[in-house]
């Protein structure tokens, strides 16, 4: 397995083996875009005999223009600040709401509040106001979030942008609900007749034209102006830029304003074509946009725009072809999700051809990773957790037991993040998709002809998730950090649309049901009647079952951290070059981390399948992955304690139930809190709440040690500060 890795193992920020040849020398960077463009051309030539096919391709120009614009936005903010902004689509989505509110209600949408201005605004003034608001958002996001992160690792910046996505989406959902609202604005009407009886709506072509003009304008600005020169210099090394008397803040902030205005413009212009807007559609267009931006190596405007338009057109063509009789069928309908999987395929192809990493650039400051302490007092902690967890299910009322179940399942998912992101430093945005692979496998196995029951079906499910996780790890051996996050995001979208909504494989949009677990006739499903808990649901035995499983997972995570594998993982996280020099197989270590993490996510998926008596594509959707990532980070991404805290924070978990019960806070605010918490955690406290807790514990321990004054002995691995509470607990248990 160790032979999979190539001999070139560049450290973050310093590629070895191949010093960057000048861009003009390096033809290989153009190879992938050319291949893709060539394929599209060939496809067009073949289909040119089919008038409707050509028409469908041109019909994709509108959505392609929005993808292209988002790709431009991604490229601009990346070049300006080194941030691969996952929230670019959410920024566009937010602007489409700002515009529509002005256009239909005459109100100004400011963060979560609407200010009534008067009569509904006409198209042009509404567009100008929207662009102004977009520019403000761009500037504010840079100054508040990404300027403080200037010295952080590319992955930390990307994770913060996930927080931005969640916050913007939560604001819109809280203000407008998640349901689509109609857009009445018109751009231009009429259509264009092309040779060969091809008729296209003029606004589609107009949009494609405008986005190309914007790209050319951007190219000219970056090529010929002082601002562009400064940006290019910043992309090389921000230190040099400040030495030359430019303000990195001004240059990067300016690029963020540009980025926000471009995506806002096209969000407004394309909304009339789609006739409605909702909080998630445009937000998720970030996935094809990232694919397009990646083809241009996050730096080329030309390839980003061409690839963006190409993806939009290809998706439209696939939509048209899906009505053909030869198109693959599932359950009497065309196989869903093929169009949504196009970005994943493009990203994988691009990564296969491109060498070197995205995200390595000279920056100010040093990179600090979240601290992953050696767990101490493991057995007392686990025993305490087991006792408290079981006591909760025996003593709490129905609603609190439901909340505790959510917390317990949430801890399992957070633990899967701890193993992958905390220990080995790889960010996956597909953990819930992996959980879903297990959940849907469980549903499939335990119903129908197979009828496999507990515990075989959930174990096979978790092993299935592990297999998919290892498959994800294979591109991860080439793609590191930011690229890996992009791959997993695209993978999550593809799995959700291709697998989970497939009526034959999974159960369609409604999902599939999971029968309650049975073991030797003992019924412990959440809805099974039981003498415990006063006969109300959920059955406490189910909760106790979940506690046992999750304490087992926590024990696994602690043992892993203390083992040779855990040290190797942290070594890989800290420095891949040095790890390889110390004889560590970087590839093997990553694959093992992916496998364990996916297995844990799979167990969580099976637990949630039992908990709801079924599985749905939405529960395992990409937004769920992002939200759980946020809570895992808030709790503390690199320790088991952090995962436990993260579990308390998850949507409908104990913390939010408490807030709802005691303070009347709607659980709808969970995503907003998660997004904000993620941003604040990444900026101010990478160790999360667990880290803060640890520091308090260390201070208290130091205070008590001052009286005892025992010097630390040599050879004791790990850090001295366990939490005060646990120290006390351990002392008491001796």
């Amino acid at each position: 397995m160790s032979d999979v890795v190539s001999t070139e193992i560049p450290a973050e920020g310093q590629p070895v083996g191949r010093p960057s040849a000048g861009p003009s020398l390096n033809m290989s960077r153009y190879r992938t875009p050319l291949i893709v463009a060539g394929l599209i051309l060939v496809a067009c030539a073949v289909l040119s005999t089919d008038r409707q096919a050509v028409q469908s391709v041109l019909l994709g120009a509108g959505s392609g223009a929005l993808i292209a614009a988002l790709a431009l936005g991604v490229v601009v903010s990346y070049r300006g600040s080194g941030v691969v902004n996952i929230g670019t689509g959410a920024m566009a989505m937010y602007s489409s709401y700002v515009f529509n509110t002005l256009n239909t209600e005459g109100s100004l949408l400011l963060i979560g509040w609407k200010i009534h201005l008067g009569a509904p605004m006409a198209f042009a003034p509404a567009l100008i106001v929207t662009l102004a608001i977009g520019a403000l958002w761009g500037a504010a996001l840079y100054l508040l979030v990404f300027a403080p992160l200037r010295g952080a690792s590319p992955v930390a910046k990307l994770v913060a942008s996930v927080g931005v996505l969640l916050v913007l989406q939560a604001i819109v959902v809280l203000t407008y609900e998640a349901t689509p609202i109609a857009v009445t604005a018109k751009l231009v009407s009429g259509s264009v007749h092309l040779p060969g009886d091809v008729i296209v709506a003029s606004n589609q072509l107009l949009l494609a034209g405008v986005v190309i003009i914007v790209a050319i304008a951007l190219w000219a600005i970056y090529r010929f102006t002082r601002f562009g020169l400064a940006t290019r210099a910043a992309a090389e090394d921000e230190r040099h830029l400040s030495l030359l008397g430019h303000s990195p803040t001004l240059v990067s902030g300016g690029n963020w304003v540009f980025s926000a205005m471009i995506v806002s413009l096209f969000a407004v212009l394309t909304a009339p074509i789609n006739t409605s807007i909702d909080p998630s559609t445009i937000t998720l267009l970030i996935v094809p946009a990232l694919a397009a931006a990646l083809l241009g190596r996050f730096t080329s405007f030309g390839y980003a725009v061409l690839a963006g338009l190409g993806i939009g057109m290809l998706q439209s063509l696939i939509q048209y072809l899906s009505i053909k009789p030869w198109f693959p069928q599932a359950g009497g309908a065309p196989v869903p999700g093929i169009a949504q999987s196009v970005p994943l395929v493009i990203i994988l192809v691009a990564l296969a051809f491109q060498r070197g990493g995205v995200g390595s650039r000279g920056s100010l400051g040093s990179v600090r990773l979240p601290f992953a302490p050696q767990p101490k007092y493991v057995l007392p902690k686990l025993a305490g957790g087991l006792v408290i967890g079981i006591a909760g299910f025996l003593l709490l009322g129905s609603q609190w037991r439901l909340a505790e179940t959510n917390t317990i399942v949430g801890i399992a998912i957070c633990l899967s993040f701890v193993i992958l992101t905390g220990y080995v430093g790889q960010v996956s945005l597909a953990q819930m998709a992996l959980a879903g692979v297990s959940g849907f496998t469980l549903a499939k196995l335990s119903t129908g002809a197979l009828g496999l029951g507990f515990p075989i079906a959930p174990l096979i499910g978790a092993l299935g998730a592990m297999v998919v996780g290892v498959l994800v790890a294979v591109p991860a051996l080439r793609a590191r950090g930011v690229q890996l996050a992009v791959v997993t995001l695209a993978g999550a979208v593809a799995i959700e649309n291709l697998v989970f909504t497939n009526p034959v494989w999974s159960g369609g949009l409604q999902g599939a049901s999971v029968p309650p677990p049975r073991l030797f006739g003992f019924k412990f499903g959440p809805t099974d009647p039981s003498s415990l808990g006063g006969g109300t649901i959920p059955n406490p035995w189910f909760g106790i079952f979940c506690v046992i499983i999750v304490v087992g997972i926590a024990a696994l995570a602690c043992a892993l951290r203390s083992s040779a594998w855990g040290r190797r993982m942290l070594a890989v996280r800290a420095n891949e070059r040095a790890a390889a020099a110390a004889g560590v197989s970087v590839a093997q270590t990553k694959v093992v981390a992916f496998a364990i993490s996916a297995f844990v996510a799979g167990l969580a998926g099976a637990l949630s399948g039992y908990r709801f008596g079924g599985v749905t594509p939405q529960y395992f959707g990409v937004f769920a992955s992002l939200t759980f990532l946020a809570f895992a980070y808030m709790g503390g991404i690199s320790s088991v304690t952090g995962a436990v805290i993260g579990g308390f924070l998850v949507t409908n978990g104990l913390a939010f139930t408490a807030l709802e019960q005691w303070f009347g806070l709607s659980p709808d605010y969970a995503v907003l809190v998660g997004g904000l918490g993620l941003v604040v955690t990444v900026i101010t406290n990478p160790d999360g709440i667990a880290g803060t807790w640890r520091q308090i514990g260390r201070k208290m321990q130091q205070r008590s040690q001052r009286s005892e004054s025992s010097p630390p002995s040599d050879g004791v691995a790990g850090e001295p500060g366990a939490t005060a509470v646990v120290t006390a607990f351990a002392k008491g248990s001796r």
């Binding site: 001999t7 070139e8 070895v16």
Partner: protein, 258 residues
């Protein structure tokens, strides 16, 4: 003495530029071999090529009787060919002790379940104590690299390489960034290693250090070996003086060195 490491015609090219060209070099078992050259002569490229961090365009690398040219860096390290880095490349998140442990422990993925419950062997602990003692850093095992001085961190890098009990230790500019006292300490440490039976290949541009500790010295200039011999011969070699100080610098430096 049989050859432990042998480079045969090693060529490394970066986009048409030869960073190393036809380098032939032998490190016999139990020897202390040096490689010197001015900055930019291609020394670190050669170390990268030997240890698998960069691909060679042509040639072969034979280690312990085996052609390792195609093997990845971690596999070469496990075979006993262990390097240090010019820049500090420690695992900042791990304690000094754990930094060394990583280099000591090897296991296969199928032994993962057993590894999760296994306790550390005392043999490994002894080896780490020995490695830390050899570089003169007993008692800092529980500290983290960020709490150490630059010189100490350099020595931890050497100790980490030693902890895996290498057959051949490749030291890439170990003296870079050290002050005079630290450099002298390093000198003693390196001499001591040879007595323990570890073969050493020292790469440095500090001619004084290399001349004083090595038995056999190669001189690299513009990616090619320009001189080879014992310290006395290298001191007098006009090609070496030219490589270091330019053609015109001439004899007075040679006299001074001699």
């Amino acid at each position: 003495m049989s050859a432990l490491l042998e480079a045969r015609g090693v060529t490394v090219s970066y986009g048409g530029v030869h960073a190393n060209k036809d380098v032939d070099l032998v490190v016999p078992e139990g020897a202390f071999v040096g490689l010197i050259g001015a900055n930019g002569a291609g020394k670190t490229t050669f170390v990268d090529a030997i240890t698998g961090f960069t691909q060679i365009a042509s040639g072969a690398i034979i280690f312990d009787g085996e052609d390792i040219s195609e093997r990845p860096p971690d596999s070469r390290a496990r075979a006993g060919l262990v390097r240090t880095f010019q820049s500090l490349e420690l695992f900042d998140d791990l304690t000094v002790w754990d930094n060394l442990l990583v280099a000591c422990e090897t296991s296969k993925w199928w032994s993962l379940p057993a590894d999760l419950v296994r306790r550390r062997s005392s043999a490994v602990d002894e080896r780490i104590h020995w490695a830390l003692a050899t570089v003169g850093l007993e008692g800092i095992g529980s500290r983290r690299p960020e709490d150490l001085s630059h010189g100490q961190r350099k020595l931890v890098g050497v100790a980490r390489a030693l902890a895996s009990r290498p057959k051949l230790l490749l030291l890439d500019e170990p003296a870079a960034g050290l002050d005079a006292t630290e450099s002298a300490e390093l000198h003693d440490v390196l001499r001591g290693l040879l007595d323990q039976g570890i073969s050493i290949f020292l790469i440095d541009h500090d001619m004084g250090l290399v001349l004083s500790v090595c038995d056999d010295i190669y001189v690299l200039d513009f990616g090619q070996i320009v001189a080879h011999g014992d310290p006395a011969r290298i001191r007098r070699d006009p090609a070496v003086i030219a490589a270091y100080l330019g053609d015109s610098a001439g004899s007075e430096v040679a006299e001074e060195l001699a």
